[in-house]
Amino acid sequence: MDDLFLAELERIVGPDGLVRDASELLTYESDGLVRLRERPAAAVLPDSADQVQAVVGLCHRTKVPFVARGQGPGLSGGALPHPDGVLIVMTRMNRILDVDIPNQRMTVEPGVMNLDVTREVESAGYYYAPDPSSQLICSIGGNVAENSGGAHCLKYGFTVHHVLGVEAVLPDGELVHLGGEALDSPGLDLLGVLVGSEGTLAVVTKVTLRLVRRPEAVRTLLAAFDSTDAAGNAVSDIISAGIIPAAIEMMDRTTIRAAEAAVHPGFPDAEAVLIVELDGSRSEVEALFAQVEAVCARNEGWGVQVAMDDAHRGRIWTGRKAAFAAMGRIAPSYYVQDGVIPRSKLPEVLRRIRQLEVESGLTIGNVFHAGDGNLHPLVCYDDAVDGQADLAEQVASKILTFCLDVGGSLTGEHGVGADKACHMPKMFTAEDLETMQLVRAAFDPDQLCNPDKVFPTPRLCGEVPGPYRAHPAEIAGLAERF
């Protein structure tokens, strides 16, 4: 990167918007997946879409790669910088631009934190439905890029169902508007493909979100089971009984114990617990809740706790959310994965994971979004024991294979990023990937926008996956990992 280029960057974003100092750049070397690190040649902090356009335009003219970064808690290395490129940090663009309650819309800049959207409209009785557990520390721009989900996406859908329109800078510097405030904008659904494209198609500079009215009633239940099979069957029975709860979460013995030791939520000592939350109109919640209780009873659920008030409900969720961080008490390190399976296959896959645990001698904890089949297995190991890290890596990737074997997916919410790009050929044929690349080529023929992500490349696929390490925000207790 020559001085002329840097001077031009500085002219665009101003001296305080350009980061070149090696120690300052350290902050931006990795996202939540800390094993992948790269120092960008420069980082910029634009303050407006104009500045983003100018930076991207400059990169386009000089063929310099660029990577957008939100708040940085991505778990797949999606915001991993390019060593010869510019990192475009969107955190200064964090203004709420318009709140339109009658039309249930809000327009924000991409640096706005997920939770701040809800905070803005809470008093009016509305909220923003997608609730990643990182919602305190992740940006709407990152959510759009990852099509982020959360515990309550079972009923309410993912980011793609709640983003109505975006303003974005294309990789050649052109500013476009995809979607809008109203539904069904004429034309190809480029918005639908941009959401979840992991920052590889454009840099988003403005987002219009759909707001949802707070439900009249919420009911939360916790039930214990003597086997993950029984809990898994209960999940399947709830779904096939035609009940779509707001959330169904599962924890196994390992993660229950870890959570209990860490935050004492009062969970029963069982092989598995389910947390089921229903919301909607009061009468509907009451009627369906009885059915859920019956399904749990039929599958020999016991120790049922029904949250009687917000405090009790909060305690149940704290137990659930603390599980990830609490695993640190059980093992010094662990791998975390994000595979998805058809929910009817839960008992089968959990059994295979259990068998793998016995065979490998490594502890595997499970705490996950059972309602939509999104597993988060935690393979525990000790770096100090020779060969255990390698073994854990093998076990973790075997679990991914189990998911694909039953027709599942590599990732439910964390994204492919740099982390799982090399696994993509296990799920997609060369033709599938090439077809996806046609979209890439239409948006970004020079492959300058977040290169080396999502799709397998030789540069990336030589690397060996490493262990999970707690995200700094997680250590600070700001967020828990789902």
Binding site: R105, V176, P186, L188, I239, K420, M427, M436, F443, V454
Partner: protein, 427 residues
């Protein structure tokens, strides 16, 4: 364009030889699209046959139009002469109903009604209710992202699709997504294909999230003396935590249909609440069940779509319902046009039926488009006589994303083989 040297019979022979089966026949008047008969019609039975046919069309510079139930071929821009109509009619199975997962994979040529008949065995359904469900195919519904009243609860095809297989114009088979309800691996090509009017590839099969069939249903039909009451009624209803599965408007006379589907006591309770709110606004509500309920919905669906005439899909912000209806009434009267409106009052997705002098219809649509600020709605001509289509661009402004849409089309179908000119924005 059908080249001079190839008679339909010669084309039939070429396609059959390429596919290795007798799949093609000469086109007839009955196959006409916008009044023009196609060269040949082919009905492939397998994905490989579709692939061979498209590869043939691309290599030989032919144009192809995909036909499902043929219910919406009059939608979109006229495509001029067509060499090949590719009918999906022979690929019409429900491939797999994973009822424990509440998902199903359905071939493109299956009609919605056939599909739902299969799914109903486990008391589930694909929660889409666009017009002509008995004839409209899954492929056609997805390609037009079409939906009906219950979009209020369940969304449009775009919101329900979790995976898709397709054949590209060059004959390459590809898939996107999968069979699980949550999945962020790779680009979501299914959303790109949804609503693309078949201009990027041929949809072979689609995997959907399903919904349970509700135990009970009630519909509240409300008559208002004044269309201005509709907006406040919708706002009131939603503010009272009502969770209708459909929230429809029909004019004239000003009627609203609100449907509640849940367990019996909930449907009853919510219907009664809605009736009370309607009375408070001076409306006359009737709560319908059983055959009466079915009949009122059939009549509602048939109202615009089962008769001739122009249909404009008018999308606005839901909060602008009252002002839009007032404007429309005035605009139609000054132009001496007949009009009807139906549609999703809660979502701002309306269908306007127009009758009368065609140039005046064009003038109304133009004025309507000028009235809607960029990004805050659209007025797309969904169905119209060639005369009106000749006066107006059916799509209206597509916005500054058009260049990249054209670029996507160019990458997927460089020879413009598929549904030439019919795609959104004239792709």
């Amino acid at each position: 364009m059908l080249s001079q040297s190839s008679t339909p019979d010669a084309l039939v022979a070429e396609v059959n030889a390429r596919v290795g089966a007798a799949v093609a026949r000469p086109g007839s008047r009955r196959d006409s699209i916008d009044g023009v008969a196609p060269g040949i019609v082919a009905t492939p039975q397998t994905a490989t046959a579709v692939a061979a046919m498209l590869a043939w069309a691309t290599e030989t510079g032919r144009t192809a139009v995909v036909r499902g139930g043929g219910t919406k071929l009059g939608w979109g821009a006229p495509s001029g002469s067509v060499d090949l109509v590719l009918s999906t009619a022979a690929m019409n199975a429900v491939d797999e109903h994973r009822h424990g997962d509440l998902t199903a994979t359905v071939q493109a040529g299956a009609t919605l009604a056939e599909t739902n008949a299969v799914l109903s065995r486990h008391r589930q359904w694909l929660p889409l209710d666009p017009p002509w469900g008995d004839r409209a195919t899954i492929g056609g519904i997805v390609a037009t992202n079409d939906s009906g009243p219950r979009r209020q609860r369940h969304g449009a095809p775009r919101d329900l699709i979790i995976g898709m297989t397709l054949v590209r114009a060059d004959g390459v088979l590809a898939k996107t997504g999968g069979i699980v309800v949550k999945n962020v691996a790779g680009y979501d090509l299914a959303r790109l294909m949804t609503g693309s009017f078949g201009c990027l590839g041929v949809i072979l099969s689609v995997t959907f999230k399903l919904a349970p069939v509700a135990a009970a249903s009630r519909t509240v039909a409300v008559e208002f003396s004044d269309a201005a009451r509709c907006g406040p009624f919708v706002a009131d209803l939603l503010a009272h935590s009502a969770t209708p599965t459909a929230l429809e408007l029909a004019i004239p006379p000003t009627t609203m249909l609100v449907r509640f589907e849940s367990v019996e006591p909930v449907a009853v309770e919510q219907a009664e609440q809605a009736a009370t709110l309607a009375r408070g606004l001076g409306g006359t509500p009737t709560i319908l069940i059983g055959e009466d309920e079915t009949a009122v919905w059939q009549a509602h669906d048939a109202r615009l779509f089962d008769r001739e005439g122009t249909i404009v899909k008018l999308v606005i912000l839901a909060g602008e319902l009252s002002s839009t209806l007032a404007w429309l009434d005035d605009a139609a009267q000054t132009r001496q046009l007949d009009y009807e409106v139906t549609g999703r009052a809660g979502l701002g997705v309306l269908y306007v039926g127009l009758g009368g002098d065609v140039p005046r219809q064009a003038s109304l649509v133009t004025a309507l488009r000028e009235r809607i600020p960029a990004g805050r709605g659209s007025a797309v001509i969904q169905r119209a006589d060639p005369e009106l289509k000749a006066l107006l661009d059916v799509w209206g402004p597509v916005g500054d994303g058009l260049r990249i849409m054209q670029e996507v089309k160019r990458r997927f179908d460089p020879t413009r083989t598929l549904n030439r000119g019919r795609g959104p924005g004239g792709l």
